[in-house]
């Protein structure tokens, strides 16, 4: 089957069908907003379509089936993302979804599309979750709308054996980082891999996020992404001034290859290090996993409270679900230590469980990662999760253009602000 032969006619049909669905669902909400039918299995819509993650979800569902009925429906990540608004606004939506907490979930909650989960958060398991997670999963109206299950971290990843071969050590501050880049360059290695080409331009946002939270702090960063500051403000210019200092050390093919190819270059020793999330390990060969290490993105201004990017994953449910009690039961199960261990065992195992009692995979990398996040004063999610999926393309354009034409930063930031305003105003 070919999903991508999109023609104008099919687009119109799709857009129109979505419109019809919205109209129909509009009718449904105005007439009956409480469906009481509770027959049939709970449907669980998952975007975890990578082979290991999908297998882990199947293990999880198999475990739950001993006590309740649930149907897992795995959808390709890109399709899932573009279809999510349609799912949530349809008259007969899937019940539970894999997705992200924070700003992204709150946007749906504000439109009354998410099921209130306060009852689930009353369970003994969730009561013990960290305060930060409590806040992250609460909507702006004060309702719990999300159940977190795992999180992972971003950092500067490298191969221990390569660093030893080159005779370099991880830096702690910005000057040390620049020294390291110089040394790597003198060895004929591209110091910094990127991987913002192909279909993964969003990877470049990690550099923007980190420089901004190191220079202006996490609070400013979140406000900026919420539209409370402008992208052409002097504070944002400072971010790019710093970025210009390291730009000569970036792999020249950084915007030409996808992150999967960039991590291959990292593992092969063609590039020295990469700012990336642990998910890249899914594609790494098993024997390379023990050789992978990371260091904290260098501190630039010691006065700024230390923040790290540690995106949380989990579930929310549709407000129109006809299986309210069964959904609560499933979510309580997913929030439990046992379920999270099942998932980590089945997947690549580089994520961390949200439940305080759940055991992680215990590798040195994971232990270090847990400490890395715990030491942070603040945790950010990621560009699209702290803002919205709709804002991400504006960042992709601005940042890839900056990497190619750093001198045009003034017009790039003006354009970025203009594009972002259209999204915020939509």
């Amino acid at each position: 089957m070919n999903h991508s032969q999109t023609s104008r006619r099919r687009f119109l049909a799709g857009a129109g069908a979505a419109g019809t669905a919205a109209l129909l669902s509009g009718c449904v909400t105005s007439t009956s907003s409480s469906k009481t039918s509770s027959k049939g299995a709970v449907s669980l819509q998952s975007n975890l379509s990578a082979p290991q993650a999908k297998a882990a979800m199947q293990d999880l569902v198999a475990a739950y089936k001993k006590k309740g009925s649930v149907d897992l429906n795995t959808v390709a990540a890109e399709t899932f993302r573009t279809q999510l608004p349609t799912y949530l606004t349809s008259a007969n939506p899937p019940d539970v979804y894999t997705w992200y907490p924070g700003s992204v979930a709150d946007a749906y909650a504000r439109k009354n599309l998410l099921l209130g989960l306060d009852e689930v958060w009353d369970s003994p398991d969730l009561k013990r979750y960290s305060k930060a997670l409590h806040t992250l999963c609460t909507s702006s109206s004060g309702k719990k709308v999300f159940v977190p299950t795992t999180y992972y971290w971003w950092g500067m990843f490298y191969r221990k054996s390569n660093f030893a071969k080159w005779g370099v050590t991880p830096p702690t501050d910005w000057d040390g980082f620049l020294d390291l880049c110089d040394k790597l360059k003198s060895k004929g290695v591209a110091p910094i891999g990127l991987g913002a080409g192909g279909n993964t331009a969003w990877v470049a946002s990690a550099w923007f996020d980190y420089l901004d939270i190191r220079i202006n702090g996490a609070q400013y960063h979140r406000e900026l992404l919420a539209g409370k500051h402008r992208f052409d403000d002097p504070e944002v210019h400072k971010v790019f001034d710093r970025w210009k200092e390291v730009l000569p050390y970036f792999d020249p093919s950084g915007t030409a290859v996808a992150f999967q190819d960039a991590t291959t270059a990292l593992l092969n020793g063609r590039s020295g290090m990469m700012l990336i999330g642990t998910f890249f390990a899914d594609a790494a060969p098993k024997d390379a996993l023990d050789d992978i290490d990371f260091f904290r993105f260098p501190v630039i201004d010691p006065k700024i409270p230390l923040a790290e990017e540690a995106p949380t994953d989990g579930y929310f449910a549709s407000a129109r679900s006809g299986h309210r009690d069964q959904v609560f039961d499933l979510l309580r199960f997913l929030a439990g230590a046992e379920a999270q261990e099942i998932y980590l065992k089945g997947s690549s195992g580089t994520a961390l469980p949200c439940h305080p009692d759940a055991k992680d995979t215990g590798t040195p990398l994971v232990i270090k990662g847990r400490k890395h996040v715990a030491e942070a004063a603040e945790v950010t999610q990621f560009f699209n999760r702290d803002s919205s999926d709709a804002l991400q393309p504006t960042a992709d354009t601005a940042l890839t253009k900056f990497i190619a034409k750093p001198k045009e930063i003034n017009s790039i930031l003006t354009d970025w602000q203009r594009d972002a305003q259209k999204i915020w105003g939509a």
């Binding site: 129109g16 080409g197 915007t255 393309p393 504006t394 999204i423």
Partner: protein, 312 residues
């Protein structure tokens, strides 16, 4: 009744007005035939016409896909007038139409002329040229992505023939991205256009060429005065196909560059998709779809009207 009328016709030399038939009304269409017409019409109406009308309506709204659409009149079209990216996409689409359309028509015709004569092995070459049509464009794009990679086949080839200075990140450079994307699209389209022209060439009466030869026409004159005029009806089909394919070209661009880097390979179709489904501005996306529709419809309708007028 019917028998009587037939008898009456048989006996009188001048047929009487078919009164019997008129009395019974026009000949009844059998319900089965009616169903064969109405059911597809209904399906078409529900799945195509109604959504298309909805699309026109959505073009007049601001809609994020979640909240109810908000009517904004012609604001989307006004915004388009000042939208740099729209302008880039429109220019790129015209460039695409000229380069992709023009080259595929020219090269398709050239290969058809080259391969029209039945010689040994010509079938192999025809099949080889037609083969890319069979592959999905998304699969094609993935192969070409590997070719264009910084350490891909193309750059290695350039290096090995001593043209290492031309090595390039073909898809990541705004100066080359659009042209790099046109190549796989052409690679696929030429075989298709060739087949259309081959069919046209087969339909030309050989007597015309003999007559031209007798009149002393050279090969060029025969081509100019016999082949080209005879291909007029095929040209209409090829032009329609090319215009439609150019305006809906999406898959190959989306798979290779997603319209980037920074909109340099943006077509109207990719801009429409990214605006609607990535930036979730479905109202503006629908307005772009309307523009594409008007362009395609306008070009094709005006050409067809002219073509038919000439045919008359």
């Amino acid at each position: 009744m019917a028998v009587l009328t037939t008898d009456a016709r048989r006996t009188t030399p001048v047929p009487t007005p078919p009164r019997g038939r008129r009395a019974g009304g026009p000949r009844r269409t059998p319900p089965l035939v009616l169903a064969f017409v109405l059911v597809p019409l209904l399906a078409e109406a529900v799945w195509v016409f109604w959504p298309a009308l909805q699309g026109f309506y959505l073009a007049l709204t601001s809609w994020d896909g979640v909240s109810a659409p908000r009517f904004v009149g012609l604001a989307n079209f006004r915004e388009m007038a000042h939208d740099d990216v729209f302008r880039t996409a429109a220019v790129d689409t015209v460039l695409w139409l000229v380069l992709f359309g023009g080259l595929s028509a020219l090269l398709g015709l050239a290969t058809a002329l080259l391969l029209q004569q039945e010689r040994r092995g010509v079938g192999f070459y025809r099949a080889a040229l037609f083969l890319p049509v069979v592959f999905s464009l998304v699969a094609t794009a993935l192969v070409w992505q590997a070719i264009y990679q910084p350490d891909g086949v193309l750059n290695q080839l350039l290096q090995s023939v001593g043209l290492g200075s031309l090595r390039h990140a073909w898809l990541a450079d705004q100066d080359t991205a659009l042209y790099a994307v046109i190549v796989p699209a052409l690679w696929r389209q030429i075989g298709y256009v060739m087949v259309l022209y081959l069919a046209g060439l087969k339909g030309i009466d050989p007597a015309l060429y003999e007559a031209a030869k007798v009149d002393g026409a050279g090969r060029w004159q025969a081509f100019r005065h016999v082949t080209l005029p005879q291909l007029r009806s095929v040209n209409a089909v090829v032009l329609s196909v090319i215009v439609i394919d150019s305006l809906r070209s999406f898959d190959v661009v989306w798979s290779l560059t997603r319209g980037g880097p920074y909109h340099s390979s943006e077509l109207l179709s990719t801009y429409m998709y990214s605006t609607a489904f990535q930036s979730l501005r479905l109202g503006y996306g629908s307005a772009l779809a309307v523009v594409i529709f008007v362009l395609a419809f306008g070009v094709i309708a005006s050409y067809l009207v002219r073509a038919f007028r000439e045919a008359d």
